[in-house]
Amino acid sequence: MFSTVATLLRKELRLELRTPQTVPAMALFSVTTFVVFHFALQARSVEGDLAAGVLCVTILFAAILGVNRLFVADHEEGGFDGFLLAPVDRTALLVAKALSLLAFLVLLELVAVPAFILLLLEPGLGVSALARLALVLFLVDIGIAVLGTLVAALAIQTRTRDLIVPIVALPLLIPVVIAAARGTAPLLAAAGAGALPGRWLALLGLYDLVFGLLAYAVFDFLLEE
């Protein structure tokens, strides 16, 4: 199981490394979205609740781009058939895809968060606030990665994949949005970073756990041919 996951993950990352497609698109999209927010909100800088919302929406929509692309290569180039022929546990594909999506999201945030701080955030961010922000965002990423993999696998066989992914994924991700916006708002306040309320971390953890188990339980049914 471990070696299968490692092999599949290596394949995903090598694919992205050789022909960078998804991550650059997501990163570029996020920076452009900050510019859009600057004009749409008519704000030179944002802080607090508004800053949390801007960051959260940008990462969510950039993530949807990655979710849309997640299984496209496997579907079009016969990767599914190859995987299904191999005598390995089907769940390995779920774990590997979720890990690769998680890696893409972390890479996205390595670009998006500094860009956000430079372009829009009013107070700047201290080291400890940054660490707490990274913790919240990491839990958010796990949730998006698990649910995104599930939705991507659900949508890949449909004829209108690009339409199905956002309309199914967005309502399902609303608990993540709530926790992310509420959890990061005090960290981004202009008056200085406030405490991080533990219940948002707990909610994110619960979400990651529930959908992780659920994806594990149903993923096999999405692969049978």
């Binding site: 199905i164 309309i167 609303i174 608990p175």
Partner: protein, 247 residues
């Protein structure tokens, strides 16, 4: 060879009609006027049972979907589909009555601080994607399998979503039973329970009617095919509804 569907629907329909009449009669003539909200509060006897039954229908659909994936029996997919379909229809009713109530008692059509209403809207929006998802998968077997996965995921999402939205807001919704201000008076409780029973019966009746209609029309189609040969029967039209196989 032909099987009769919809047997036993007559007593069920009569019981439903009776229960709905009694519940409405109770709500209008027996239930006391609410001290704060007056007459408007009576929409509560439609709105809340409808919401409970709609959510129950989503859960029922998820359970049928689990059965479908476990047994591979396509009839469970049909049950799940009809249950979710009906719950979506009820969901429209819940949102409309909820908005009327919100307008009457809080003066706004939609109240974002009201977590139950917001949660219900999110759940409703999620289930609205059930039909497009089914419609965009052509292979009927795959359609059934994927729809079941969706139904299970969405079923698990419902309680988690209610928890998340509740955490996010301080609630102003009147609690149905015991709350800080005290329980409902016994007369209101009786009326509420009778409307809940009526709404559940209505859902069950509609569900059975829809199942019977789906089976009967499939049977009719297969009989026509036998009579007229293969050419007269049109190929399966692409549809969001599950294909019904007749024995």
């Amino acid at each position: 060879m032909t099987k009769l569907y919809g047997t036993g629907l007559r007593p069920l329909s009569l019981a439903t009609a009776l229960a709905v009449t009694v519940a409405f009669g109770f709500a209008f003539f027996y239930a006391p006027l609410d001290a704060d909200q007056g007459f408007v509060q009576k929409i509560f006897y439609v709105h809340v049972p409808m919401a409970i039954v709609a959510l129950g229908g989503f859960v029922f659909g998820a359970i049928m979907a689990i059965q479908h994936l476990r047994t591979g029996d396509r009839r469970y997919d049909l049950r799940s589909y009809v249950a979710i379909h009906l719950s979506i229809v009820l969901g429209v009713g819940v949102l409309v009555t909820g908005m009327i109530w919100a307008q009457a008692s809080w003066g706004v059509w939609f109240e974002w601080r009201e977590p139950t209403l917001v949660s219900f809207l999110i759940v409703f929006l999620l289930y609205c994607t059930y039909q497009p998802l089914r419609f965009s998968i052509e292979d009927p077997e795959k359609q059934a399998r994927y729809a079941s996965v969706f139904a299970i995921t969405a079923g698990a999402f419902v309680p988690l979503n209610f928890l998340a939205v509740r955490l996010a807001e301080t609630y102003i919704h009147p609690r149905v039973f015991a709350s800080a201000e005290g329980a409902l008076p016994a007369s209101m409780q009786l009326v509420f329970l009778s409307s809940l029973v009526a709404m559940t019966l209505l859902y069950l009746t509609l569900w059975r009617y829809e199942m019977a209609a789906k089976h009967t029309s499939a049977q009719l189609k297969s009989l026509r095919r036998k009579l007229g040969g293969d050419e007269s029967a049109p190929a399966r039209v692409r549809s969001a509804a599950p294909a019904v196989t007749t024995p």
